[in-house]
Amino acid sequence: MEFLSFLIKRVLWSVLVLVGLSMVIFVIARVVPGDPARMALGPRATPEQVAQLQTELGLDRPIVAQYGRFIEGLTRGDLGRSLLTERPVNDDIRETFAATFELVLCTMVLAMGIGVPLGMIAAYWKDQWPDTAVRFFAIFAAVTPSFFLALLLQILAGYVLHLLPTTGRLPNSMEFEASTTGLLLIDSVIAGRWDVLGEALRHLLLPAIALAAATMGQMARLTRASMIDVSRQDYIEAARAFGIPEWLRVTKYMLRPSFVPPLTIMGLEFASLIGGAFVVEMVFAWPGMAAYGIRTILQKDLNAVMGVVMVSGVFFVLVNLAIDVMVGFVDPRVRIRGRR
């Protein structure tokens, strides 16, 4: 019951944030020097065409009415047309988003899957060499620009060792349409195409590492700190006194509560993950939404850019919602305290 009300509050809150976000984007899109209708039609348009589109878009109406239209368009999933591709922006984003989603998802798995155990190791051997090593790693991971790491990985794995592919999601020669979910890892399994699965994984590895490194360091650091925190708590002392075996103490009684701070921070880190995806996708020629965003920015393709910003924001809010619900599930205190 109490969990339900927490959930409702949290969802309402997310909706509010999204409305705010839409306002921000609307304002940015409207402070453009120049006429949105002319920009949408491109340089070859005649004045009559521009006037017609202005009426169509309602640009002659008051700003509040314009915002209403904008919101109405958003709810219908209508983000306007892209100048670059001459297609509806939502079609473009739908196609490219899957690639970004797959990359970011793998990045999160990698960051948590390696970062948390590293933090546990560091906490367990606190102030000994594994701890020092992990702390060093965490600091360097945090301060290495993701594009630089991406380039280094490309040189090392791509050019020097010839281990892994350095561009794209699949080899050009490979025929495969990810039509079910858009995620290669899932669709290839559904289709039973193990060769595609293997190639998709090989292509994913370098970009995911480049993108994950900073978050991985952050996770290791936080896990370490909160494990040490928890280990000082009375109930752990009690468990030790009761002679509960050490492995059980560490994994069961300490891990679950110490998992909360890294999980919460993961949500916030997510914004920088999306930002990082922009550079990493460019370096690895990853056909994702971020690469689409950069291409359209350079072409001054406003609808597309605003679409990308909006979708990034929605993505961020939804992930945070999911994480909050997960945290609320893991740690009952959160539900009572409210959010964070």
Partner: protein, 518 residues
């Protein structure tokens, strides 16, 4: 004994290779640096557009690497003595990709539609063709009646691609099928569109039933990847995915690809010129002395030898147009002292002179040239601003005098195999307002000479006019004549067939290419 054995073995190997060759596709993956703007034959305008169109559609005639007109859909043509009537005979076996025959009515439909939409190649036929100019003599014969004598007319015909009228008409809608032909192809080309993501790639596949047939070892699939990023090109080449580079990679990339062993460099002189187009209507390049100073402050040898390979360009017309090139004009010199003297004579002398250098963003060699210019110009008292813009932004700012930068790095190659293409599109006031005419010359005398050359069928007379025209343009200095492009590609050693063609990007008609490895 050993010899026989060896022979049998190799025969067996050859046989096996042949067996698999039947199964394996010949895929050519090539990178290109600009996006494909459109595939509608009535709208195609730039080099990249034509690269797709020439493979997806066929015209009545085409052009070979020497600039000669060669048959395509038309097997023969007759020009009337007064050069005002041209009659084409369409091949009996010419058919569209859907199997229906190509007929005179299709040609008429394609041209009427082109004139109505009035974009892309339509400007070639302004005042020359009007609705009704093209008539059917019979189902397989079509006659063009020109409104006035237009000497280069025949050389512009390859720019007209023939649509399948029966396939287009049901999709006309209210916009003459512009919406439908933006993503669909209805022609007689050797290739069909398989996929197209405007920002990223295009894939076309071979039509096995193509009426003209193919050479041995035909290219089954052509896959264009849109990227100018050198790292991506190298990485695609290293992983074996790339077969052919664009012509705009850096020398470092070409070298890296050749070092991989799989690639060879193919290079050819072309009729494409590389200019610094000077906006003659804005400060400071509105002053002839400043324009001359810019020409004298350009380090031609370094550009040609180190930054971008090319030959000497001394007039607006490259030497490739041998009969029309004015060989008496000396090649431009790099002389900073003389440049100083010119500046002293200009109305801007005595104070720092602000100047904007425009170039295509993300193009390495153009940025290097821009830096080279800046370092020389700063010694002469210019205050330089670099303006790097993406290509479609440049096409936009070229539309108005005020937004056109003072100096612009622009390549211009013949859009049809006639000197008229080089002069009309760049210097005639009727063609003003495009990226090809950023000089804004707008000079009645120049217009008159271009028109005079168009109105005569006499080649000697034309040559005389064009030579005077070149002298006049060099005198006016609306451009710095940087170089004639030596086109370069790194190509897989198994891929042959690249030959520069002096018309748009007809050199990327992939029916002319062969995969020679089995």
């Amino acid at each position: 004994m050993t010899l026989t054995k060896l022979m049998t073995t190799s025969a067996a190997v050859a046989f096996m290779a042949l067996g698999t060759a039947g199964l394996a596709e010949n895929v050519v993956t090539m990178n290109t640096v600009q996006i494909f703007g459109t595939i509608d034959p009535a709208k195609i305008s730039d080099y990249t557009d034509y690269m797709a169109a020439v493979n997806l559609y066929d015209g009545l005639i085409s052009v070979d690497s020497s600039g000669n007109l060669i048959p395509e859909l038309a097997e023969s043509w007759v020009v009337s003595p007064d050069a005002k009537e041209v009659t084409f005979k369409i091949r009996d076996d010419a058919k569209f990709t859907d199997g229906t025959p190509v007929e005179a009515s299709d040609v008429i439909y394609s041209i009427e539609r082109l004139l109505k939409i009035n974009l892309g190649p339509a400007n070639l036929f302004a005042d020359v063709l009007t609705p009704g100019s093209v008539t059917a003599v019979d189902a397989k014969t079509v006659k063009f009646t020109l409104a006035k004598t237009f000497a280069p007319f025949l050389t512009t015909v390859p720019a007209i691609f023939i649509l399948n009228a029966d396939a287009v008409k049901p999709n006309e809608g209210t916009d003459d099928a512009q919406g439908w032909l933006a993503t669909n192809v209805a022609g007689a080309g050797a290739y069909s569109l398989k996929s197209w993501d405007r920002g990223a790639e295009m894939t076309i596949t071979r039509n096995p039933d193509y009426y003209k047939g193919f050479l041995e070892g035909p290219i089954d699939t052509v896959h264009w990847i849109i990227t100018s990023d050198e790292a991506t090109v190298k990485s695609l080449a290293a992983s074996g995915e790339l077969m052919m580079t664009s012509q705009f990679q850096s020398p470092e990339t070409y070298k890296a690809l050749v070092d991989m062993g799989r690639f060879q460099m193919v290079s050819q002189d072309t009729g494409t010129a590389f200019y610094l187009k000077l906006n003659t209507k804005v400060a400071p390049t509105d002053d002839i002395h400043i324009r001359r100073a810019l020409a004298l402050a350009t380090d031609y040898a370094t550009i040609r030898e180190v930054i971008f390979p090319g030959g000497v360009l001394s007039t607006p017309l490259p030497k490739a147009f041998a009969d029309f090139h004015n060989g008496d004009i000396p090649e431009p010199k790099f002389d900073l002292e003389a440049a100083k003297a010119e500046i002293a004579q200009s109305k801007y002398a005595g104070a720092p002179i602000p100047i904007t250098l425009g170039y295509v963003a993300g193009t390495g060699f153009e940025e290097e040239i821009s830096l080279l210019m800046q370092s020389n110009l700063e010694q002469l008292g210019f205050v330089v601003t670099q303006a790097a813009d993406p290509w479609n932004r440049i096409t936009e700012i070229a539309g108005k005098v005020e937004t056109t930068p003072a100096v612009n790095q622009i390549f211009f190659g013949p859009t049809y195999p006639s000197p008229d293409s080089m002069f009309f599109t760049q210097y005639h006031s009727k063609a003003a307002g495009t990226w090809a005419s950023m000089e804004w010359v707008n000079d009645p005398e120049i217009d008159g000479m271009i028109d005079a050359a168009r109105a005569t069928g006499d080649t000697a007379e034309q040559a005389k006019i064009y030579k005077t025209l070149q002298a006049k343009l060099v005198e006016m200095q609306p451009d710095v004549f940087l170089l004639t492009q030596t086109v370069q590609h790194a190509m897989d050693k198994c891929l042959t067939g690249f030959k520069a063609v002096p018309m748009q990007s007809f050199d990327y008609d992939f029916t002319r290419y062969q995969w020679t490895c089995k």
